[in-house]
Amino acid sequence: MKKKRLPKLFRKPVPAGKLEKKILRRIHVESERKFLMSRLQRDDSGRYVLPEELSADERKHLKQLAKSIRKNRGVLVGWKAGILAFVLIAAVGFNFFLKNRLVEHAAETALQRLFNAVVEIEGTEFSILKGTIGFTSVAIADEQEPMRNLVELGRTNLSLDTGRILSRRIILNEIASREIRFDTPRTSSGALPAAAKTDEHGPEPGAEDSGSGDTAGELKTIGLEIGRESARQIIADYRDSLQSPQLIDSVQERYAETSERWNTRVESTDAQLDTVQTSTRQLLDTDISSIDTAQEVQDYLAKLRELQTSVQETQKSFEATYEEYQADTAFINESRKGINTAIEEDLSFLKDSVGSFGSDAAGIVASAAQPVLRERLGSIYTYGERVLRIYRRLHESSSGKESRFTDRGREGTTVNFPYREYPGFLLKHFELSTGSAASSGFSEFIIDDLTGDQETWGKPTSARFSTNPSFGREDTSLSTDLIIDTRDASASLMESSSELKAYPVEVSEGLESLSVDSLRAESDSLFRLSIQPDLSGEGEAAINLTDVQIDLSETDSMIGDAIARILDDTEMVQIRVSFSFADGTIDRMKISTDIDEQLNDRIGEYAREQADKAAAEIETAFYDYIDEELAANDLLSDEISQQGRELVENIRNAEDLETAIDEQQAELKSRAQEEVEKQTGELKDKAREGLEELGKDLKLPGF
């Protein structure tokens, strides 16, 4: 049987010092120490050595002992330290030698798959701990034209705050790509060797003429030419503002109503009068001479008195009706006076309207510009509203979530120290630029502090876009600054200002009122827009037009000529616009131009002449118009007057009847008196005759 070898630790002789320091000090069990010392022997030089004649059990024991002695060395556990060292070496090796190459290769592969063309990336710098990835240049070849690049990027960086990711906060320090160039030449083919071409690009759908609609809308022309027809037109236009037509209409309506009512009443009185007249006539037709007896007289007299009472009542009734009529129709005179006053005022108003032609002309260019500017400035609001809508979506999606960390069991108390809160999402700096500031063409788009939780971050989101040249013109430049501030204490939700220089303007609609077909000019514009949290707001625009050229309408127009002359003498036209909006529409717009004053002076004289002419025309036309209305009123008025006259006639008739009755009564009385006297005489005569006959027959003594 082969003997087991001694442990390496004990194969060589060990000096006394080393035995104590390296071996015995690492044996912590007394029995083990004794066991070892009992087996060790000293050689000639005083070193400790194990004898060869050890049993198998002793060798096994020594092996285990040696193992335990090795284990008792050092502060770190060997295999654990090995793992730690491996991880560290792997991380450092990856960081220095592999990381950038792997990332570059991965990015190139991914982009090549995406674009089906060669992608070259240089100067890759990737840092996991810093959370940055950057390239000095990226060139993406054009699949269709392999000798050209679709796009070339200059220095491109993406920086992420890795520390905040652990706090579930996405904080992007920077996303920037500078010196972006399109369609640049390549020195080598950008076609992939075996690129799998996909037919993912179908035919582009036909471009829709989205901008060709009647966007100008119904641009009202301002009627400035004054003539006979337009005088009538002005009256028609201003009819709602005139008093007299309305007053005439209302009076006419009242006339008709009154006439109808009194027509009925008059007919009623007529009928009443007829009845009374008939009965009167019948009674008065009685021959008084035929009345012989006192009884007959008495009866007839009673009838007369009864009739008289009836006639008097009828008369009183007629008089009351007439008084009522007078009261009811008193308004006719007042109305007539009112109509006359209204006509005078209306005429004055119409003349003033025409007379103010000159002063209206002070804003003629501004008025003409208003619909055009309203349309174009309205789009600024639309863009602003769109930006805010996107921003609000971002705000809703980035509501910070509380950490799910909770103490379990023992909770303790958390002492709060001032803590810089970070929003759920934050992009500190975003930048895209083409060209360079030193070169002739330069464009940049920058966003700073983009977050949906500005309250936490404490800064508003700002954006800047500038380009020069722009709109395909070398000398045109555009720069726009935008600030979105949703914080509670902010003065406004959005502020933007834009500056557009040397931008060509061409307007061919909405200038008819100026007798101008089209206008071309160079413009320098400054726009400012402020939107409040309720989406209302205000804006300003300062537009300077230079090199203004206009095409006049074919029809001769004093205004057109005046504008042309003014523009010949003027180097620059300044237009100032201020507007406010609410609920998505512009509700107020004030426009002023510096040429309006000049234009006003030029056309003032012409305007006054026109105004005088127009006033005369209007007066004639107005009377033509109003006379028709008044004729109808007069007709009704005459009818009502006739009704009054009929009432008066009825009263007179009633009075006549009463007079006739009185006369009849007088005659009857006379007749009765006469009859009484006659009968009295006859009675006297008869009495006398009787007495005389009685005296003859009767003889008294003594006589």
Partner: protein
Amino acid sequence: MITLIAKFLAALNANSRPGEAASGFACGILLALVPAGNLLWIVLFTVFFFLRLHLATMILTTVVFKLFIGVADPLVDALGLWILQLPRLEPLFIQAINTPVLPYLRFNNTLVMGGFTAGILLWVPSFLIGRVLVLLYRRKIRDRIASSRLVKFFEKTPLLRKLTMAVRKAGTVYQGWSG
């Protein structure tokens, strides 16, 4: 748990440094004092994992002391509060709370801060006490226990025999009890 106890017993009886078990004991107390569930506890455990100390002892100590550490919580809480309210340390705490990752240490919690401080302060005494106990055990008790009737009785019990086997397996030089 049995394996854990076995490893602890092996550490007591094997040829390991008394300091290994003692430091495991001291670190176990520290881990018991600091509430779990925060980065500090994980960091401490990870550091201790790579150091030469007896893990089984540390874990066993942690588990055992966790059962009773609630008794000391009022003191630990008061200590943590006192430290966190020290004006001199406030700038440090403010800087730490605003540094990425560090808030996950939950150092601004009174029990965490108190437990950590108490654990650090108690580490050296715990280590020394543990070392003395291990030495005392090895010198005075170990051999007596190994030859006692009770141990021999235990060795006949199936559960304890399993424990003995585990101890044997764990201990490299252990020659006690059954050997």
